[in-house]
Protein backbone atom coordinates (compact mmCIF):
# COMPACT_ATOMS: atom_id res chain seq x y z
CA UNK A 1 0.00 0.00 0.00
CA UNK A 2 1.40 3.43 -0.82
CA UNK A 3 2.55 5.53 2.11
CA UNK A 4 4.74 8.48 2.94
CA UNK A 5 7.86 6.34 3.05
CA UNK A 6 7.68 5.78 -0.68
CA UNK A 7 8.48 9.48 -0.98
CA UNK A 8 12.01 8.56 0.07
CA UNK A 9 14.39 5.77 -0.88
CA UNK A 10 15.13 2.97 1.57
CA UNK A 11 18.58 4.45 2.16
CA UNK A 12 17.13 7.87 3.05
CA UNK A 13 14.70 6.24 5.47
CA UNK A 14 17.53 4.19 6.97
CA UNK A 15 19.56 7.35 7.66
CA UNK A 16 16.44 9.12 8.89
CA UNK A 17 15.54 6.32 11.30
CA UNK A 18 19.09 5.64 12.42
CA UNK A 19 21.04 8.81 11.83
CA UNK A 20 24.82 8.38 12.12
CA UNK A 21 27.03 10.78 14.07
CA UNK A 22 24.35 12.88 15.75
CA UNK A 23 25.68 15.39 18.25
CA UNK A 24 28.39 17.96 18.76
CA UNK A 25 32.16 17.75 19.01
CA UNK A 26 33.80 19.57 21.88
CA UNK A 27 36.49 21.95 20.61
CA UNK A 28 35.90 21.12 16.95
CA UNK A 29 38.52 22.04 14.37
CA UNK A 30 35.77 23.32 12.10
CA UNK A 31 32.08 24.16 12.44
CA UNK A 32 29.57 24.79 9.66
CA UNK A 33 26.29 26.48 10.44
CA UNK A 34 23.96 26.84 7.43
CA UNK A 35 20.31 27.24 6.54
CA UNK A 36 17.68 29.63 7.72
CA UNK A 37 14.38 29.46 9.55
CA UNK A 38 12.40 30.72 6.55
CA UNK A 39 13.14 27.67 4.43
CA UNK A 40 12.83 25.46 7.48
CA UNK A 41 16.19 23.68 7.45
CA UNK A 42 19.08 24.44 9.78
CA UNK A 43 22.24 22.30 9.84
CA UNK A 44 25.28 22.35 12.06
CA UNK A 45 28.27 20.26 11.12
CA UNK A 46 31.34 19.75 13.31
CA UNK A 47 34.64 18.27 12.15
CA UNK A 48 37.78 17.10 13.90
CA UNK A 49 40.93 17.18 11.76
CA UNK A 50 44.21 15.40 12.46
CA UNK A 51 47.07 16.12 10.09
CA UNK A 52 45.09 16.68 6.96
CA UNK A 53 42.51 13.99 7.66
CA UNK A 54 38.97 14.41 8.97
CA UNK A 55 38.92 11.99 11.89
CA UNK A 56 35.44 12.73 13.19
CA UNK A 57 32.28 14.53 12.12
CA UNK A 58 29.01 15.14 13.91
CA UNK A 59 25.81 17.02 13.09
CA UNK A 60 22.72 18.61 14.48
CA UNK A 61 19.82 19.35 12.15
CA UNK A 62 16.41 20.97 12.34
CA UNK A 63 14.65 19.91 9.18
CA UNK A 64 12.68 17.38 7.22
CA UNK A 65 13.49 13.73 6.61
CA UNK A 66 15.75 14.55 3.67
CA UNK A 67 17.63 17.19 5.67
CA UNK A 68 18.33 14.75 8.49
CA UNK A 69 19.31 11.94 6.11
CA UNK A 70 21.67 14.12 4.05
CA UNK A 71 23.31 15.44 7.23
CA UNK A 72 23.84 11.91 8.46
CA UNK A 73 25.17 10.75 5.09
CA UNK A 74 27.61 13.62 4.70
CA UNK A 75 29.17 12.91 8.12
CA UNK A 76 29.58 9.28 7.15
CA UNK A 77 31.17 10.24 3.84
CA UNK A 78 33.75 12.69 5.21
CA UNK A 79 35.17 10.68 8.08
CA UNK A 80 38.57 9.32 7.03
CA UNK A 81 38.89 11.63 4.04
CA UNK A 82 41.55 14.29 3.55
CA UNK A 83 40.36 17.90 3.38
CA UNK A 84 40.90 17.92 -0.39
CA UNK A 85 38.95 14.70 -0.83
CA UNK A 86 36.14 16.07 1.33
CA UNK A 87 35.92 19.17 -0.83
CA UNK A 88 35.13 16.92 -3.78
CA UNK A 89 31.88 15.83 -2.13
CA UNK A 90 29.00 17.64 -3.78
CA UNK A 91 25.27 17.73 -3.20
CA UNK A 92 24.91 15.28 -6.08
CA UNK A 93 27.29 12.72 -4.59
CA UNK A 94 25.42 12.95 -1.25
CA UNK A 95 22.06 12.49 -2.98
CA UNK A 96 23.44 9.61 -5.05
CA UNK A 97 24.83 7.91 -1.97
CA UNK A 98 21.32 8.08 -0.52
CA UNK A 99 19.83 6.37 -3.56
CA UNK A 100 18.41 9.64 -4.84
CA UNK A 101 16.15 12.34 -3.42
CA UNK A 102 12.79 13.63 -4.63
CA UNK A 103 13.23 16.73 -6.83
CA UNK A 104 11.58 18.97 -4.25
CA UNK A 105 14.14 17.81 -1.68
CA UNK A 106 17.35 18.35 -3.65
CA UNK A 107 17.85 21.65 -1.81
CA UNK A 108 18.48 19.61 1.34
CA UNK A 109 21.51 17.99 -0.26
CA UNK A 110 22.74 21.45 -1.29
CA UNK A 111 22.48 22.45 2.34
CA UNK A 112 24.57 19.42 3.36
CA UNK A 113 27.26 20.39 0.86
CA UNK A 114 27.15 23.99 2.11
CA UNK A 115 27.48 22.81 5.72
CA UNK A 116 30.53 20.75 4.85
CA UNK A 117 32.20 23.58 2.92
CA UNK A 118 31.42 26.00 5.69
CA UNK A 119 32.98 23.66 8.28
CA UNK A 120 36.11 23.28 6.12
CA UNK A 121 36.30 27.07 5.61
CA UNK A 122 36.09 27.47 9.36
CA UNK A 123 38.88 24.90 9.76
CA UNK A 124 41.07 26.80 7.28
CA UNK A 125 40.52 30.15 8.96
CA UNK A 126 41.29 28.64 12.34
CA UNK A 127 44.50 27.18 10.88
CA UNK A 128 45.52 30.60 9.56
CA UNK A 129 44.88 32.23 12.91
CA UNK A 130 46.90 29.54 14.62
CA UNK A 131 49.85 29.92 12.28
CA UNK A 132 49.71 33.69 12.71
CA UNK A 133 49.77 33.42 16.48
CA UNK A 134 52.58 30.90 16.20
CA UNK A 135 54.48 33.28 13.93
CA UNK A 136 53.87 36.15 16.34
CA UNK A 137 55.07 34.02 19.24
CA UNK A 138 58.27 33.22 17.30
CA UNK A 139 58.95 36.90 16.61
CA UNK A 140 58.62 37.73 20.29
Amino acid sequence: MPDIQSLYSEKVMDHFRNPRNVGEIENPDGTGHVGNPICGDIMELYIKVNGNIITDAKFKTFGCGAAIATSSMVTEMVIGKTIDEALEISNKTVAEALGGLPAAKMHCSVLAEDALRSAIDDYHSKQKKQSKTKAKAKKK
Binding site: I4, V22, K60, T61, G63, C64, A67, K105
Partner: protein
Amino acid sequence: MKRIYLDYAATTPTHPDVVEAMLPYFSDSFGNPSSIYSYGQEAKGAVEKAREQVAALIGARDDEVVFTSGGTEADNSAIQGVALADPERNHIITSATEHHAVIETCRFLERRGFKVTYLPVDKEGLINPDDVRNTITEKTCLVSIMHANNEIGTIQPIKELAVIARGAGVLIHTDAVQTAGQIPVNVDDLGVDLLSISAHKLYGPKGVGALYIRKGTKLVPFMHGGGQERNRRGSTENVPGIVGFGKATEIARNVIAGEIERQTQLRNHLISGILEQIDGVRLNGHPTNRLPNNVNVSVDYVEGESMLLNLDLENICASTGSACSSSSLEASHVLLALGLTHEQAHSSLRFTVGKWTTDEDIDRVSEVLPRVVARLRAMSPLLKSHK
Protein backbone atom coordinates in the same frame (compact mmCIF):
# COMPACT_ATOMS: atom_id res chain seq x y z
CA MET B 1 -0.29 -2.70 13.45
CA LYS B 2 -3.52 -0.76 13.02
CA ARG B 3 -3.12 2.50 11.14
CA ILE B 4 -4.43 5.52 13.00
CA TYR B 5 -5.81 8.12 10.62
CA LEU B 6 -5.89 11.62 12.13
CA ASP B 7 -6.11 13.73 9.00
CA TYR B 8 -9.88 13.89 8.47
CA ALA B 9 -9.59 17.56 7.49
CA ALA B 10 -7.52 16.50 4.48
CA THR B 11 -10.06 13.94 3.37
CA THR B 12 -12.36 11.32 4.83
CA PRO B 13 -12.90 7.69 3.90
CA THR B 14 -16.11 7.33 1.91
CA HIS B 15 -18.83 5.92 4.15
CA PRO B 16 -19.74 2.33 3.15
CA ASP B 17 -23.43 3.31 2.87
CA VAL B 18 -22.40 6.10 0.51
CA VAL B 19 -20.47 3.68 -1.70
CA GLU B 20 -23.49 1.38 -1.75
CA ALA B 21 -25.78 4.24 -2.76
CA MET B 22 -23.43 5.21 -5.60
CA LEU B 23 -22.88 1.77 -7.12
CA PRO B 24 -26.13 1.49 -9.19
CA TYR B 25 -25.28 4.73 -10.98
CA PHE B 26 -22.11 3.50 -12.65
CA SER B 27 -23.37 0.68 -14.86
CA ASP B 28 -27.08 0.06 -14.25
CA SER B 29 -28.68 3.50 -14.03
CA PHE B 30 -25.90 4.97 -16.09
CA GLY B 31 -27.99 7.40 -18.16
CA ASN B 32 -27.31 11.02 -18.94
CA PRO B 33 -29.74 13.11 -16.87
CA SER B 34 -30.42 15.25 -19.95
CA SER B 35 -31.81 12.26 -21.90
CA ILE B 36 -35.56 11.83 -22.00
CA TYR B 37 -35.70 8.02 -22.01
CA SER B 38 -35.93 6.04 -18.79
CA TYR B 39 -32.17 5.64 -18.19
CA GLY B 40 -31.77 9.38 -18.34
CA GLN B 41 -34.76 10.10 -16.16
CA GLU B 42 -33.58 7.63 -13.50
CA ALA B 43 -30.31 9.49 -13.35
CA LYS B 44 -32.04 12.85 -13.29
CA GLY B 45 -34.30 11.72 -10.46
CA ALA B 46 -31.25 10.59 -8.49
CA VAL B 47 -29.50 13.93 -9.01
CA GLU B 48 -32.58 15.85 -7.87
CA LYS B 49 -32.97 13.67 -4.80
CA ALA B 50 -29.34 14.37 -3.94
CA ARG B 51 -29.95 18.08 -4.44
CA GLU B 52 -32.75 17.91 -1.85
CA GLN B 53 -30.46 16.07 0.56
CA VAL B 54 -27.64 18.58 0.19
CA ALA B 55 -30.05 21.53 0.42
CA ALA B 56 -31.49 20.07 3.62
CA LEU B 57 -28.07 19.94 5.27
CA ILE B 58 -27.54 23.67 4.82
CA GLY B 59 -31.14 24.89 5.07
CA ALA B 60 -31.30 25.94 1.40
CA ARG B 61 -33.96 25.58 -1.29
CA ASP B 62 -33.27 22.84 -3.82
CA ASP B 63 -32.92 25.28 -6.69
CA GLU B 64 -30.21 27.20 -4.82
CA VAL B 65 -27.77 24.28 -4.90
CA VAL B 66 -25.43 23.89 -7.89
CA PHE B 67 -23.23 20.80 -8.05
CA THR B 68 -19.56 21.35 -8.83
CA SER B 69 -16.42 19.24 -9.06
CA GLY B 70 -15.54 20.13 -5.46
CA GLY B 71 -14.83 22.91 -3.01
CA THR B 72 -12.17 24.54 -5.16
CA GLU B 73 -14.54 24.91 -8.10
CA ALA B 74 -17.28 26.20 -5.81
CA ASP B 75 -14.91 28.89 -4.46
CA ASN B 76 -13.68 29.81 -7.94
CA SER B 77 -17.24 29.99 -9.29
CA ALA B 78 -18.49 32.13 -6.43
CA ILE B 79 -15.67 34.67 -6.48
CA GLN B 80 -15.11 34.95 -10.22
CA GLY B 81 -18.85 34.74 -10.85
CA VAL B 82 -19.58 37.72 -8.61
CA ALA B 83 -16.51 39.68 -9.72
CA LEU B 84 -17.50 39.44 -13.39
CA ALA B 85 -21.20 40.12 -12.80
CA ASP B 86 -20.92 43.82 -11.98
CA PRO B 87 -18.43 45.83 -14.07
CA GLU B 88 -18.90 48.85 -11.79
CA ARG B 89 -17.44 47.14 -8.75
CA ASN B 90 -13.90 45.81 -8.62
CA HIS B 91 -13.06 45.37 -4.93
CA ILE B 92 -13.08 42.10 -2.97
CA ILE B 93 -12.54 41.65 0.76
CA THR B 94 -11.13 38.36 2.01
CA SER B 95 -8.74 37.25 4.75
CA ALA B 96 -5.10 36.27 5.07
CA THR B 97 -5.99 32.77 6.27
CA GLU B 98 -8.30 31.62 3.48
CA HIS B 99 -7.83 28.35 1.68
CA HIS B 100 -5.66 28.53 -1.45
CA ALA B 101 -8.79 28.08 -3.57
CA VAL B 102 -9.94 31.53 -2.40
CA ILE B 103 -6.58 33.28 -2.09
CA GLU B 104 -5.32 32.17 -5.50
CA THR B 105 -8.62 33.11 -7.15
CA CYS B 106 -8.31 36.57 -5.62
CA ARG B 107 -4.70 36.87 -6.80
CA PHE B 108 -5.79 35.84 -10.28
CA LEU B 109 -8.38 38.65 -10.26
CA GLU B 110 -5.82 41.12 -8.88
CA ARG B 111 -3.62 40.44 -11.89
CA ARG B 112 -6.62 41.39 -14.01
CA GLY B 113 -7.20 44.73 -12.36
CA PHE B 114 -9.30 43.89 -9.31
CA LYS B 115 -8.45 45.29 -5.88
CA VAL B 116 -8.33 42.77 -3.07
CA THR B 117 -8.10 43.45 0.66
CA TYR B 118 -6.63 40.55 2.64
CA LEU B 119 -7.77 41.22 6.20
CA PRO B 120 -5.44 40.23 9.02
CA VAL B 121 -6.48 37.90 11.83
CA ASP B 122 -5.66 38.05 15.52
CA LYS B 123 -3.29 35.59 17.19
CA GLU B 124 -6.10 33.04 17.51
CA GLY B 125 -7.11 33.38 13.89
CA LEU B 126 -10.22 35.53 14.23
CA ILE B 127 -11.27 38.30 11.86
CA ASN B 128 -12.22 41.60 13.46
CA PRO B 129 -15.69 42.45 12.08
CA ASP B 130 -14.84 46.16 12.32
CA ASP B 131 -12.13 45.57 9.72
CA VAL B 132 -14.79 44.38 7.29
CA ARG B 133 -16.99 47.36 8.10
CA ASN B 134 -14.10 49.78 7.64
CA THR B 135 -12.79 48.37 4.36
CA ILE B 136 -16.10 48.14 2.46
CA THR B 137 -16.34 50.83 -0.21
CA GLU B 138 -18.90 51.56 -2.90
CA LYS B 139 -16.64 49.53 -5.22
CA THR B 140 -16.79 46.38 -3.06
CA CYS B 141 -18.63 43.53 -4.77
CA LEU B 142 -17.88 40.64 -2.43
CA VAL B 143 -16.77 39.67 1.06
CA SER B 144 -15.38 36.11 1.08
CA ILE B 145 -14.45 34.75 4.50
CA MET B 146 -14.17 31.05 5.36
CA HIS B 147 -16.53 29.59 7.94
CA ALA B 148 -13.78 27.67 9.71
CA ASN B 149 -10.11 27.38 8.95
CA ASN B 150 -8.82 24.10 7.56
CA GLU B 151 -5.48 24.27 9.36
CA ILE B 152 -6.23 25.73 12.78
CA GLY B 153 -9.99 25.14 13.03
CA THR B 154 -10.87 28.68 14.13
CA ILE B 155 -14.55 29.43 13.45
CA GLN B 156 -15.23 32.91 12.09
CA PRO B 157 -18.21 35.07 13.13
CA ILE B 158 -19.85 34.74 9.70
CA LYS B 159 -23.27 35.77 10.96
CA GLU B 160 -21.90 39.09 12.17
CA LEU B 161 -19.86 39.63 9.01
CA ALA B 162 -22.93 38.90 6.87
CA VAL B 163 -24.98 41.56 8.65
CA ILE B 164 -22.22 44.08 7.93
CA ALA B 165 -21.75 43.08 4.29
CA ARG B 166 -25.39 42.80 3.35
CA GLY B 167 -26.19 45.99 5.28
CA ALA B 168 -23.79 47.72 2.92
CA GLY B 169 -25.29 46.04 -0.14
CA VAL B 170 -22.31 43.74 -0.61
CA LEU B 171 -22.59 40.01 -1.30
CA ILE B 172 -21.00 37.58 1.13
CA HIS B 173 -19.51 34.18 0.33
CA THR B 174 -18.22 31.67 2.83
CA ASP B 175 -16.10 28.60 2.24
CA ALA B 176 -17.85 26.06 4.48
CA VAL B 177 -15.84 23.07 3.26
CA GLN B 178 -14.55 22.39 6.79
CA THR B 179 -17.84 23.01 8.57
CA ALA B 180 -20.65 21.46 6.50
CA GLY B 181 -21.47 18.15 8.14
CA GLN B 182 -19.16 18.94 11.08
CA ILE B 183 -21.06 21.73 12.84
CA PRO B 184 -24.48 23.25 12.10
CA VAL B 185 -24.44 25.21 8.84
CA ASN B 186 -27.61 27.06 7.84
CA VAL B 187 -27.50 29.60 5.04
CA ASP B 188 -30.31 31.71 6.48
CA ASP B 189 -28.93 31.65 9.99
CA LEU B 190 -25.49 32.63 8.70
CA GLY B 191 -27.07 35.12 6.31
CA VAL B 192 -24.75 34.35 3.41
CA ASP B 193 -25.39 34.70 -0.32
CA LEU B 194 -22.93 32.06 -1.44
CA LEU B 195 -21.50 29.03 0.35
CA SER B 196 -19.06 26.33 -0.80
CA ILE B 197 -19.10 22.71 0.33
CA SER B 198 -17.24 19.55 -0.59
CA ALA B 199 -18.35 15.92 -0.43
CA HIS B 200 -15.06 14.25 0.44
CA LYS B 201 -14.72 16.16 3.71
CA LEU B 202 -17.97 14.67 4.99
CA TYR B 203 -17.52 10.97 4.12
CA GLY B 204 -18.65 11.41 0.52
CA PRO B 205 -16.62 10.78 -2.64
CA LYS B 206 -13.88 13.00 -4.05
CA GLY B 207 -14.54 15.10 -7.14
CA VAL B 208 -17.92 16.52 -6.14
CA GLY B 209 -19.04 19.55 -4.21
CA ALA B 210 -21.65 22.25 -4.35
CA LEU B 211 -22.10 25.98 -4.41
CA TYR B 212 -25.11 27.42 -2.67
CA ILE B 213 -26.35 30.50 -4.55
CA ARG B 214 -29.07 32.48 -2.79
CA LYS B 215 -32.02 33.02 -5.11
CA GLY B 216 -31.65 36.31 -6.98
CA THR B 217 -27.85 36.48 -6.70
CA LYS B 218 -26.30 37.67 -9.94
CA LEU B 219 -23.48 35.35 -10.93
CA VAL B 220 -21.65 34.78 -14.20
CA PRO B 221 -21.41 31.00 -14.84
CA PHE B 222 -17.94 29.55 -14.39
CA MET B 223 -18.41 26.54 -16.68
CA HIS B 224 -20.00 27.26 -20.02
CA GLY B 225 -21.60 24.33 -21.77
CA GLY B 226 -24.81 22.48 -22.25
CA GLY B 227 -27.09 24.33 -19.89
CA GLN B 228 -27.02 21.83 -17.03
CA GLU B 229 -27.69 23.02 -13.45
CA ARG B 230 -30.18 25.62 -14.73
CA ASN B 231 -27.52 27.20 -16.91
CA ARG B 232 -25.32 27.75 -13.87
CA ARG B 233 -22.78 25.05 -14.61
CA GLY B 234 -22.37 23.28 -17.92
CA SER B 235 -21.10 19.67 -17.98
CA THR B 236 -22.83 16.31 -17.77
CA GLU B 237 -23.57 15.69 -14.13
CA ASN B 238 -21.27 13.44 -12.10
CA VAL B 239 -24.25 11.26 -11.23
CA PRO B 240 -22.63 8.63 -8.98
CA GLY B 241 -20.62 11.35 -7.19
CA ILE B 242 -23.68 13.55 -6.71
CA VAL B 243 -25.72 10.60 -5.41
CA GLY B 244 -22.92 9.78 -2.98
CA PHE B 245 -22.69 13.40 -1.89
CA GLY B 246 -26.45 13.42 -1.22
CA LYS B 247 -26.28 10.25 0.83
CA ALA B 248 -23.29 11.57 2.80
CA THR B 249 -25.15 14.76 3.72
CA GLU B 250 -28.18 12.72 4.80
CA ILE B 251 -25.99 10.63 7.10
CA ALA B 252 -24.26 13.76 8.40
CA ARG B 253 -27.59 15.34 9.37
CA ASN B 254 -28.51 12.27 11.38
CA VAL B 255 -25.28 11.96 13.32
CA ILE B 256 -24.01 15.53 13.62
CA ALA B 257 -25.20 16.30 17.16
CA GLY B 258 -23.66 13.18 18.67
CA GLU B 259 -20.48 13.50 16.61
CA ILE B 260 -19.87 17.09 17.71
CA GLU B 261 -19.99 15.99 21.34
CA ARG B 262 -17.86 12.89 20.81
CA GLN B 263 -15.23 14.59 18.63
CA THR B 264 -14.97 17.57 20.96
CA GLN B 265 -14.11 15.18 23.78
CA LEU B 266 -11.50 13.39 21.68
CA ARG B 267 -10.05 16.74 20.60
CA ASN B 268 -9.82 18.07 24.15
CA HIS B 269 -8.35 14.79 25.37
CA LEU B 270 -5.64 14.98 22.69
CA ILE B 271 -4.86 18.65 23.33
CA SER B 272 -4.47 18.14 27.07
CA GLY B 273 -2.47 14.95 26.51
CA ILE B 274 0.03 16.75 24.29
CA LEU B 275 0.28 19.93 26.38
CA GLU B 276 0.72 18.00 29.62
CA GLN B 277 3.36 15.62 28.34
CA ILE B 278 5.55 17.81 26.15
CA ASP B 279 7.24 21.07 27.14
CA GLY B 280 7.46 23.91 24.68
CA VAL B 281 4.21 23.20 22.85
CA ARG B 282 1.61 25.82 21.93
CA LEU B 283 -1.91 25.29 20.68
CA ASN B 284 -2.51 27.15 17.42
CA GLY B 285 -5.94 28.58 16.73
CA HIS B 286 -8.73 29.55 19.07
CA PRO B 287 -8.89 27.61 22.38
CA THR B 288 -12.67 27.12 22.33
CA ASN B 289 -14.11 28.66 19.18
CA ARG B 290 -12.66 25.91 17.01
CA LEU B 291 -13.84 22.92 15.02
CA PRO B 292 -14.68 19.89 17.17
CA ASN B 293 -12.18 17.79 15.25
CA ASN B 294 -9.12 20.07 15.05
CA VAL B 295 -5.88 19.99 17.02
CA ASN B 296 -2.99 22.13 15.78
CA VAL B 297 0.17 22.57 17.82
CA SER B 298 3.65 23.96 17.33
CA VAL B 299 6.38 21.91 18.96
CA ASP B 300 9.45 24.03 19.68
CA TYR B 301 12.77 23.07 18.05
CA VAL B 302 11.36 20.23 15.91
CA GLU B 303 10.47 20.40 12.23
CA GLY B 304 7.03 19.19 11.15
CA GLU B 305 7.83 16.76 8.37
CA SER B 306 10.38 14.94 10.50
CA MET B 307 7.64 14.47 13.12
CA LEU B 308 5.18 13.26 10.46
CA LEU B 309 7.67 10.69 9.15
CA ASN B 310 8.33 9.39 12.64
CA LEU B 311 4.60 9.23 13.39
CA ASP B 312 4.04 7.42 10.11
CA LEU B 313 6.65 4.84 11.12
CA GLU B 314 4.38 4.27 14.13
CA ASN B 315 1.33 4.06 11.84
CA ILE B 316 -0.10 7.45 12.79
CA CYS B 317 -1.19 9.77 9.95
CA ALA B 318 -1.15 13.51 10.64
CA SER B 319 -0.35 16.75 8.83
CA THR B 320 1.93 19.80 9.14
CA GLY B 321 2.19 23.41 8.02
CA SER B 322 5.91 23.07 7.47
CA ALA B 323 7.33 24.15 4.16
CA CYS B 324 9.22 20.93 3.79
CA SER B 325 5.97 19.06 3.31
CA SER B 326 4.93 21.27 0.43
CA SER B 327 6.38 21.85 -3.00
CA SER B 328 6.50 25.62 -2.46
CA LEU B 329 8.96 25.38 0.47
CA GLU B 330 7.01 28.15 2.18
CA ALA B 331 5.58 27.63 5.63
CA SER B 332 1.83 27.81 6.16
CA HIS B 333 0.42 31.25 5.35
CA VAL B 334 -2.21 30.62 8.02
CA LEU B 335 0.28 30.08 10.83
CA LEU B 336 2.39 33.04 9.74
CA ALA B 337 -0.76 35.21 9.69
CA LEU B 338 -1.28 34.34 13.38
CA GLY B 339 2.09 35.97 14.05
CA LEU B 340 4.03 32.74 14.54
CA THR B 341 7.73 32.80 13.70
CA HIS B 342 8.93 30.76 10.75
CA GLU B 343 10.41 28.22 13.17
CA GLN B 344 7.05 27.83 14.90
CA ALA B 345 5.23 27.49 11.60
CA HIS B 346 7.69 24.84 10.47
CA SER B 347 7.19 23.09 13.82
CA SER B 348 3.46 22.63 13.49
CA LEU B 349 1.46 19.43 13.61
CA ARG B 350 -2.22 19.05 12.81
CA PHE B 351 -4.36 16.16 14.01
CA THR B 352 -7.98 16.06 12.87
CA VAL B 353 -10.24 13.40 14.36
CA GLY B 354 -13.30 11.90 12.70
CA LYS B 355 -16.03 9.30 12.63
CA TRP B 356 -13.76 6.34 13.18
CA THR B 357 -11.37 7.86 15.74
CA THR B 358 -11.41 6.12 19.12
CA ASP B 359 -10.18 6.92 22.63
CA GLU B 360 -7.49 4.28 22.10
CA ASP B 361 -6.23 6.14 19.02
CA ILE B 362 -5.83 9.32 21.04
CA ASP B 363 -4.08 7.45 23.86
CA ARG B 364 -1.67 5.99 21.35
CA VAL B 365 -0.76 9.43 19.99
CA SER B 366 -0.27 10.75 23.52
CA GLU B 367 2.09 7.84 24.11
CA VAL B 368 4.05 8.03 20.84
CA LEU B 369 4.40 11.77 20.25
CA PRO B 370 6.50 12.63 23.34
CA ARG B 371 8.97 9.91 22.30
CA VAL B 372 9.17 11.24 18.73
CA VAL B 373 9.68 14.82 19.93
CA ALA B 374 12.40 13.82 22.41
CA ARG B 375 14.25 11.91 19.72
CA LEU B 376 14.17 14.84 17.27
CA ARG B 377 14.98 17.44 19.89
CA ALA B 378 18.14 15.50 20.71
CA MET B 379 19.39 16.32 17.22
CA SER B 380 18.04 19.86 17.01
CA PRO B 381 20.54 22.71 16.77
CA LEU B 382 17.81 25.15 17.84
CA LEU B 383 17.42 23.64 21.28
CA LYS B 384 21.08 24.25 22.14
CA SER B 385 20.95 27.89 21.08
CA HIS B 386 18.01 28.44 23.44
CA LYS B 387 19.69 26.84 26.43
